[in-house]
Symmetry: C2
Subunit: 355 residues, 2 copies
């Protein structure tokens, strides 16, 4: 732990949502403080952080003061503006690094990177206008899904093309944004691997979880996932390959489709991931602590699992069920401190331990 942050050091976190909140709590377990940078007022993470800066990513003075007050910088979301990163990087280490952000901020760049590693992805083609969409429909075929190349999450910025006649509406849905047509993959289920890599190149992965989505948003993750031993091994090796190729430091979520032809990478997220929330109950070191350990230069923890868990997201008015959930046996509730429940908004999650 020669270059490890000492007790009392401060981790700067870009983004003050639930991921930043749970990262902050994990940092506290290691005797580290956090400072949250977030444009929105009263961020959930601010309730459990040592300091909060409320400022926009274009506010150079605020970015500089924030960087000066912390020892290392990390983030809870990948869409950090490039200009802000330039300022922050010039003052403090930003982990995971620039390459991970560059690759994951753009769906085409990400897929080019993954196929370049020899990994399988859905068939894809860039779409910028009617002409390139026609070409893409030729090469990728239908059904497919048109997605904006950047800034998509939780099913936002996506439009299905079940047959060629849906193409015009889908293109209009993109509102002129550079896009990508992805072919449908015939998968039996989706799993995700939460992998981690330390500053000195150590790699560790949590057990893969099996994901079920509803309305484009993660609904449940179940551990263990339905995978045979070779799929399980392949999923972990593949995650390690991605982490090493990016010289990555921190936790990454890797979503995989399970198909008869093998594992296909759906997408990667250079941060702690919703499908890794189950680790809070099933492991002695959860994904949040694993991420903090990595960015703080600590050795990775033992993320081996000692319980079966089903994680369920609480979305929008699911929070009305809190009174019942609090009385359930063997369940651990995690609420994010958000003032208002809106449709599609992630308000919390429950980890149910299966004995």
């Amino acid at each position: 732990m020669t270059n490890a942050l000492p007790q009392g050091a401060t981790i700067g976190i870009l983004g003050g949502g639930q991921l930043g909140r749970m990262l902050s709590v994990a940092a506290s377990r290691l005797g580290l403080k956090t400072h949250i940078f977030e444009p929105g007022a009263n961020p959930p993470a601010g309730q459990v952080a040592d300091a909060v800066t409320t400022a926009g990513y274009e506010d150079e003075a605020a970015l500089k003061a924030f960087a000066a007050s912390v020892d290392v910088i990390t983030y809870e979301f990948e869409n950090i503006p490039t200009a802000a990163l330039d300022i922050l990087e010039s003052l403090r280490p930003v982990r995971p690094g620039r390459e991970a952000l560059r690759v994951s901020q753009d769906r085409i760049t990400e897929k080019d990177f993954l196929t370049g590693l020899g990994l399988k992805t859905a068939p894809y083609a860039a779409v910028d206008d009617k002409v390139s969409l026609d070409d893409a429909l030729q090469s990728v075929g239908t059904p497919g899904i048109l997605k904006t190349r950047r800034f998509g999450y939780d099913g936002k910025g996506q439009s299905r093309i079940m047959a060629p006649e849906d193409a015009d509406k889908a293109l209009a849905d993109m509102a002129g944004a550079p896009s990508v047509l992805e072919g449908f993959v015939n998968f039996s289920h989706e799993v995700s691997v939460i992998g981690a890599r330390s500053a000195d190149g150590q790699v560790a992965c949590f057990d893969p979880g099996e994901n079920v989505h509803r309305n484009g948003i993660l609904h449940t993750t179940t551990i263990p996932a339905r995978l045979n031993i070779s799929q399980r091994t392949e999923s972990v090796i593949l995650a390690g390959q991605i982490l090493n190729a990016l010289d990555y430091v921190g936790v990454m979520g890797v979503e995989l489709f399970v198909t008869p032809e093998g594992l296909i990478v759906n997408e990667i997220a250079p941060r702690v991931h919703n499908s890794g929330h189950w680790t809070q109950q099933g492991c002695t070191v959860d994904q949040f602590e694993q991420h903090i350990r990595a960015v703080a230069g600590w050795p990775l923890g033992d993320g081996s699992r000692y319980a079966d868990v089903v994680m369920e997201n609480l979305i929008g008015d699911d929070v009305d069920r809190i009174p019942q959930i609090t009385m359930e046996p063997c369940s651990s509730i995690h609420l994010y401190g958000k003032a208002e429940a809106k449709p599609g908004r992630k308000m919390g999650h429950v980890n149910r331990v299966v004995k």
Copy 2:
């Protein structure tokens, strides 16, 4: 949950040490905020709290402003000055209530209360001076231990009397403070029960843990404790009896000596307890969340255990072992964010899950 605190409500916590810190983190999991009141600057709990008041317990204005800013008040230590309590109680509910504090702040009052319930304690007698010490030595006998009636913790304010000739030194050690002579109990081991009682009188206890002390400070707690089924049942019934008799709301630690003649109550603590830290790894709801649930008027959680755990305290320069501990398999480290490691100071703990 009719009278339960809603999402975003604030819990005031008196005391900003590690217990307040872990209570604050637990509150965040339930979507609740915390406000720490602590005389010392930069309290560990302040690093993960929504607000901190740095003021003394004699500062009426600060106490009033603190109370006005929170929905309910709880505490991490039992020695809260009475005048401060009077002010706080007049403005907001204080949980656990006054009776629990009155009983546990004085070793004689506590033992009178326990024996009044028909529970066994060590033989004891009040000691105020040489004359009453001689009487006490007659009735209690030697070996015994002379303790101040108030403000003792972690072996502080205690002096052993192995034979009558140690009496004068022991009395001098008390420096004139009202004291109690407790007879030695011939016990095989010590266990503790962490019990909880909700605002509507529901009672739940965690599995008893077995404690080992070093230099008067808790060293390890091992779950499960060595208890047969009738001792296990008795320990839980006895804790429930104490909680009900005090009309208690919150978590309480009950330390018990295991003897051939049955269970003997060593002492009770009206707060979360060091010997309950193992619950952070072995249960879906830990002692900190259980306490927050109770004081917030929520139903108690299911504290049933799904793993065996050994908790070890990190005292003073034990923190030098952190680099090794972070690399241990199946161990979860919890550090308190204290700036300086002093001899006897609790710096953190490790929960080792036994698979």
